[in-house]
Symmetry: C2
Subunit: 353 residues, 2 copies
């Protein structure tokens, strides 16, 4: 029992932590830190303290919440100096291998890389994308990489908030590339898109059945498409798919960023063309920093978070009200059977009629 | 002054009304109707009474609101027996000509057609899509067509509600094809998509600059693409574009409806292939009624309206609160300058800190 608790704690501290076996060490690590301790530790790039601060963000304890907010406010002026890259793709596209290969290349170039995740399903499946260290062997022990599994939570809004706040702390700690991964459950792509500078869609060659898993609308959200697993017999197929996607993308209107969405092929397994993906992202950064879109997008993201969080809170308070929930359950069948107009039903719930 | 008022009234009664010049007739028309008068009139298919009921829906007067809600509740069990078709396309695509030609064909086949619109900009521009009778000369005097300009309103949610409620009354009045048109300002396509069975995107040939006006994401929303103005020199270009779009659409995942989104070319001006568009819609109806998606989609739409209207009302009440509005104005620059986290700012506004 105690051991389970300890290992759960260790996991929450960030999976990059070696297992704590010495109880003295454990005690030392768990000493209560002051706000100044946290902020100074983060700004120094102390990964253990960063990890503990993120645990505060993820905690459901109201005391932790207050502390987390104070840390964030102090770190906020030191945040923003990174490239935030979102990554999505259907299961089987080779996301872990890609991040392992891409991330190792980046740290090799001198970057400090934080890998975060949005996976609202992780609680249910226990299959958090980044939870399994073994899938990113090199990166998980890389001293310049910081990997954090998806926070748990019952609402996507809450999970997103935790990840957004973690980004602030990671940036304050000096990480200059932030990868945010998602498996694309529900609305999670939209959420990731709303917190990154560049949104990368990993795909597979063979524009047929394999693509059925990609949700409608995702392709139009992407700032770059990368066809992975271009190795062996697949390589020719990937190159063919690239041409098809290029043609399809030409039919879409341009983004406000004025960026022409490129398509690349790569093999994360063989390390083939992984560098081109990074070059693509840097080109995007150069273009959008020059034309002002980069900053504009970030500012808009901030303003949107503000409004979204107001709306989220209003709704959360409303739907968590037991009386309202009961009334909604009573009305739903009547709405489905067209015995009451949905507008009338909504008014009833709001006005407690 | 009096005359202006009268003509404004006439316009609100529905543009299919001939100008009232005889004051006795006008008085007769304006007599106060009881709830039963309204409901019986609508169920009999009386277009004048239908028009007046929709005016009630569109009115800002609280008394009218109560009456409108009562009418809707009574009509609700008689609604639903229509095909609801949404139509969008950039300005210049020939939407009015298309609706004129398509609508006249439908009434010629014995259908009763109602044409409604969602145009949140109509108030500002005074250029309501359907406001100008001259653009649909034949349809506006067709006894089997009922044309209603876009309701005005300051919020898209409010405008959408009025159109959705008008659909219920039109169906109760026996209209079996409802066209809902939009010019695609802001989020209006999403709103139209959420109230129709089939969403048609009109396009132009020449997959280049002309398409830039189509917003990202719209193409993935469409249940059918129609390339209009396939006449004269344009015809070959339209056929070429059709092939391109077919190829592009194949790269998209299928809708839950299992429908393969078709691409047609037509010329509304010459009446060429307008019948194919109707055939396309009927095929969709047959498939989705057979596989259950048609009803499922409508039920989901109802449930979504219910939740959306709750959320809309919560937000509307919140943002219309003067104190909150002042506080938001004060905080926005701080958020933009990254001097406060958007989450913290949102909490401040909600908790009145």
């Amino acid at each position: 029992m105690e051991e389970n608790f300890q290992s759960a704690l260790t996991e929450r501290e960030g999976i990059e932590q070696p297992m704590q076996v010495n109880p003295n060490l454990t005690r030392h690590k768990r000493r209560v830190l002051s706000l100044d301790d946290y902020v100074e530790g983060i700004l120094k790039g102390d990964r253990v303290i960063l990890s503990r601060a993120i645990t505060m963000i993820e905690s459901a304890n109201p005391e932790h919440f207050e502390m987390a907010q104070a840390i964030i406010e102090r770190c906020l002026p030191h945040s923003g100096n990174s490239l935030r890259v979102g990554i999505t793709g259907v299961p089987g596209v080779g996301k872990s291998t890609f991040i392992e290969s891409f991330g190792t290349m980046l740290t090799g170039m001198g970057h400090k890389l934080a890998v975060l995740a949005i996976d609202p399903s992780s609680e249910r499946t226990k299959g958090s994308i980044l939870g399994d260290k073994t899938r990113m062997e090199a990166l998980s022990v890389d001293p310049h990489a910081f990997i954090r599994p998806s926070p748990s939570g019952s609402t996507l809004g809450g999970v997103a908030r935790k990840t957004r706040e973690s980004i602030i702390l990671c940036e304050a700690a000096g990480f200059d590339v932030i990868l945010v991964e998602t498996v694309g459950v529900g609305q999670s792509e939209t959420v990731v898109k709303s917190m990154v500078d560049f949104f990368l869609l990993l795909m597979l060659a063979g524009a047929g059945d394999e693509l059925q898993g990609i949700k409608r609308g995702i392709m139009e959200m992407a700032d770059g498409l990368v066809i992975n697993k271009a190795d062996g017999d697949n390589k020719a197929k990937a190159v063919g798919a690239k041409a098809q996607y290029r043609a399809a993308l030409k039919l879409f209107p341009k983004n406000e960023s004025q960026w022409d969405v490129p398509v690349e092929v790569c093999s994360a397994l063989e390390g083939y063309s992984i560098d081109k993906v990074w070059k693509m992202i840097l080109q995007y950064e150069a273009l959008t920093k020059a034309n002002g879109y980069f900053e504009k997008n970030r500012t808009e993201q901030h303003v949107n978070i503000f409004y979204n969080w107001i709306n989220f809170t209003l709704q959360n308070d409303f739907y968590n009200n037991e009386e309202k929930a009961t009334e909604i359950e009573r009305l739903l069948p009547l709405i489905r059977e067209k015995r009451i107009s949905p507008y009338m039903a909504a008014s009833k719930v709001i006005r407690n009629e």
